[in-house]
């Protein structure tokens, strides 16, 4: 199993954190203290999984920074699922700037993750999905999610 790892750097008054691996009960977020002000950008692209105990630690960790503006980027499906399901997983002071939407073509068995960006493929008013997503062979791919469930958080 991929071990939880993170990188933290400050750039233009924005605290940037990149996470990878899995988040479970063994992750100690105390070593990753968040500032309570300013902008925080959390890149979740390489996060592999999060379990129920990890969710508890995650919510506790983010609640320590109620006055900052948190910006989640490159959210994988596992994070979007939790955002939609667990109330508080996406704090009120946080937004999702970009997230991945899985596509697949059943005939070819091909899969692809398309990055949806705030202001481009989606906004608070709704989705502006790409008209057509194709795999390497040019075959059209369809969304591998239940839209009414997966994009629920956008309307929050």
């Amino acid at each position: 199993m991929a071990k939880f790892e993170f990188k933290k750097e400050n750039s233009n008054a924005t605290e940037k954190i990149a996470m990878s691996g899995i988040i479970d009960e063994d992750v100690d977020f105390n070593i990753l203290k968040l500032s309570d002000t300013g902008n925080i950008e959390i890149d979740l692209k390489n996060l592999k999984s999060i379990n129920s105990c990890g969710i508890r630690e995650w919510i506790k960790w983010l609640s320590s920074s109620k006055n900052s503006q948190i910006n989640f980027v490159n959210c994988p499906k596992i994070i979007v699922d939790q955002i939609n399901m667990v109330d508080g997983f996406l704090p009120t002071n946080a937004i999702v700037s970009s997230f991945f939407v899985p596509y697949y073509n059943e005939e070819n068995g091909t899969e692809k993750n398309i990055l949806f960006r705030l202001g481009h493929e989606y906004s608070q008013n709704g989705l502006n999905s790409p008209a057509k997503v194709t795999d390497d062979s040019g075959a059209e791919m369809e969304m591998d999610v239940i839209e009414s469930k997966y994009f629920k958080f956008i309307k929050k």
């Binding site: 508890r56 239940i146 469930k149």
Partner: protein
């Protein structure tokens, strides 16, 4: 257990005794062989030296006798008689006893005594017949100027015959001088020899000097020696081992004197010559017996010191095999056995600890099994029908006790459906579900809606877990009068509502009941919950589940995934069958993927179908 047939102590004892015994025996055999060879060589050497020395002495003495009488003989040849001067000279010569001069007609072989000289008045008379008997026989064989020595056989006198060739060829008469003499002290050497017997034999191998019982016997008849062939001695000197008629072996050495065809032979019984070997063997055996006895005694002590420790260990292992793991071995030695004893003690302590641990684990497993049995009572019947509502469910915990819980109940005209998932799984989560069940029993009696029910339930869970454990939860309430389905969600997986359809449904036809969502139970004491209402009409179906269902893995660890999960719901719904068949089909597909793999999380799902018949 295999019986101890032959004690280690005796094995060590036998080993410590046998090794020196075999080694010493091999050494003794080798040493005896070398010693025997060396001893025989020594006897050969000394015996050969003896015979050669004696032969030389005899030769010297005979030469002396001949030299002494040569003057008398020459005088006789001149004067044809022994004159007074010669007679005086004869008397002064010590070894010669009698001197005779015979004239022998070589044609007729007749002989005539011409004259003689004697020191003892009787010697001529005593020996005349013997001398002439010998002479009458030997005149045929004695060659010119040849000296031949004879013995009388019965006494210590020898006679030597010397033939002088005829002066006148017409008168074929020759002079024969006969010297009668004694060998003096040398005779005693032959007659009184000890273990090593000495013989003086003539050229025909007849014994001329030796012990009286063998005089005149052919030496070959006594001992079958190889150097005497056809009554002739074949070589000058030598040593050999030969056997007598009684099979006794003798070491024989011989040396020719070089005068008169005489040969000195010494003979010693081989067993006598090698008697030192017997003594050595006997003493060695005694020494070995003592050595083995000492070795055995030392081995007894040594084996005892080793085996006592091993015996202690043996006894201890027997006790351990009988189940007494408290046994300790007290061995203070610092060798391997001491280390073995320490390791044994540590091992028995470890076994004891493991036994206690196993007993404790068994107790805990027993308790968990009891907890599982108790928890099973928290769950409702898997299949139930309330008028037009069919309920069918499936539950399997990832371990003995699970953190999932589902429930249904009827309160008046309303049917309540409960599903929850505690943080993690196992015993702690199971305790939370137990608390939830207890709270649910009370909440049911309060006749409140789903949102209020979640609020009360949250109080309960929060008080029980104090924020350490939480629960996602979904409560739905179906009004059998109005067909309204009111629900509230505490961050649980949204159930799917599937509306009645005569056609096969697709993914987009799954309606997640996620219009309202609220914090998980136990997250905050004061959490508030919202509820909303949808229509649940004839042939509609709601699929409730926990997140463990799409997380099911195959034997390679690959998760089933949401796509296959959704496809399976659609496939089961499109069967257009009752809720029970739906669940069976769903469980079948899931288990076919799983192929018996362990669950990573508890699995719970159930369907509620509104079916008016």
């Amino acid at each position: 257990m295999q019986k101890n047939k032959f004690s280690l102590r005796y094995k060590i004892l036998v080993l410590l005794t046998l090794i020196p015994l075999i080694t010493l025996s091999a050494y003794l055999i080798l040493a005896m062989k070398i010693f025997e060879t060396d001893k025989i060589a020594y006897v050969f050497d000394s015996s050969g030296n003896l015979t050669q020395t004696i032969a030389t002495q005899i030769k010297t003495q005979l030469t002396s006798i001949m030299s002494s009488n040569k003057f008398i003989f020459q005088d006789f040849l001149t004067k044809n008689s022994f004159d007074p001067f010669a007679s005086e000279y004869f008397k002064s010569e010590s070894n010669t006893e009698l001197l005779l001069a015979y004239e022998v007609d070589l044609d007729s072989k007749r002989y005539k005594l011409i004259q003689y000289l004697q020191k003892n008045n009787d010697i001529f008379n005593q020996n005349k017949d013997k001398i002439e008997t010998i002479l009458s026989q030997e005149i045929y064989y004695v060659k010119d100027n040849e000296r031949t020595v004879y013995s009388f056989g019965s006494d210590s006198h020898f006679l030597m015959i010397e033939k002088v060739p005829p002066k006148d060829l017409k008168n074929n008469k020759s002079l024969f001088f006969v010297i009668v003499f004694q060998l003096g002290e040398l005779q005693d050497v032959f007659q009184n020899s000890g273990a090593q017997k000495l013989f003086l034999v003539d050229k025909s191998a007849k014994i001329r000097l030796g012990s009286t019982d063998v005089i005149n016997k052919n030496f070959k008849t006594l001992v079958d020696v190889k150097f005497i062939e056809k009554n002739r001695i074949s070589s000058l000197n030598g040593v050999e081992i030969a056997s007598a008629a009684d099979k006794k072996e003798f070491i024989i050495s011989y040396a020719q004197v070089g005068i008169g065809g005489l040969t000195v032979i010494s003979s010693v019984l081989k067993s006598r010559a090698l008697s030192a070997l017997d003594i050595l063997l006997k003493k060695s055996i005694i020494f070995f017996v003592i050595l083995i006895a000492v070795t055995t005694i030392i081995s007894l002590f040594a084996s005892s010191s080793i085996t006592n420790a091993i015996t202690l260990l043996f006894t201890a292992t027997q006790k351990v095999s009988e189940g007494d793991f408290t046994t300790k071995v007290q061995i203070k030695s610092s060798d391997e056995v001491g280390v073995l004893a320490d390791n044994f003690n540590r091992m028995s302590e470890e076994i004891l600890r493991l036994l206690k641990q196993t007993a404790e684990k068994a107790r805990m497993e027993n308790e968990l099994q009891t907890a599982k049995t108790v928890q099973e009572t928290l769950f409702p019947e898997a299949r139930k029908k309330y008028d037009n509502i069919e309920i069918s469910g499936f539950y399997e915990p990832a371990s003995e006790c699970g953190g999932d819980w589902w429930h249904y109940c009827q309160v008046g005209t309303k049917l309540f459906f409960w599903i929850g998932d505690a943080t993690g799984h196992g015993a702690p989560s199971a305790l939370i579900t137990s608390a939830a069940k207890s709270a649910a029993v009370i909440i049911e009696s309060l006749n409140v809606g789903p949102a209020k029910a979640l609020e009360y339930l949250n109080h309960c869970i929060y008080e029980v877990s104090r924020g350490r454990l939480m629960m996602t939860f979904f409560i739905g309430c179906y009004d059998t009068i109005t067909s309204d389905f009111t629900y509230a969600n505490a961050s649980h997986e949204a159930p799917y509502l599937i509306k009645n359809s005569t056609k096969s449904i697709k993914k987009k036809d799954l309606i997640p009941l996620n219009d309202v969502n609220s914090p998980r139970l136990g997250q905050s004491r004061d959490s508030l919950y919202q509820e909303t209402t949808v229509r649940f009409e004839n042939d509609d179906l709601i699929y409730f589940y926990t997140d463990g269902v799409p997380d099911v893995v195959d034997p390679s660890g690959q998760p089933w995934g949401e796509r296959e999960f959704i496809k399976t719901i659609i496939e089961c719904f499109n069967m257009k069958t009752n809720s029970d068949e739906f669940i069976k089909k769903f469980a079948k597909i899931m288990n076919e993927y799983r192929k018996g793999s362990s669950l990573v999380d508890d699995v719970t799902f159930f369907v509620v179908k509104n079916k008016v018949y």
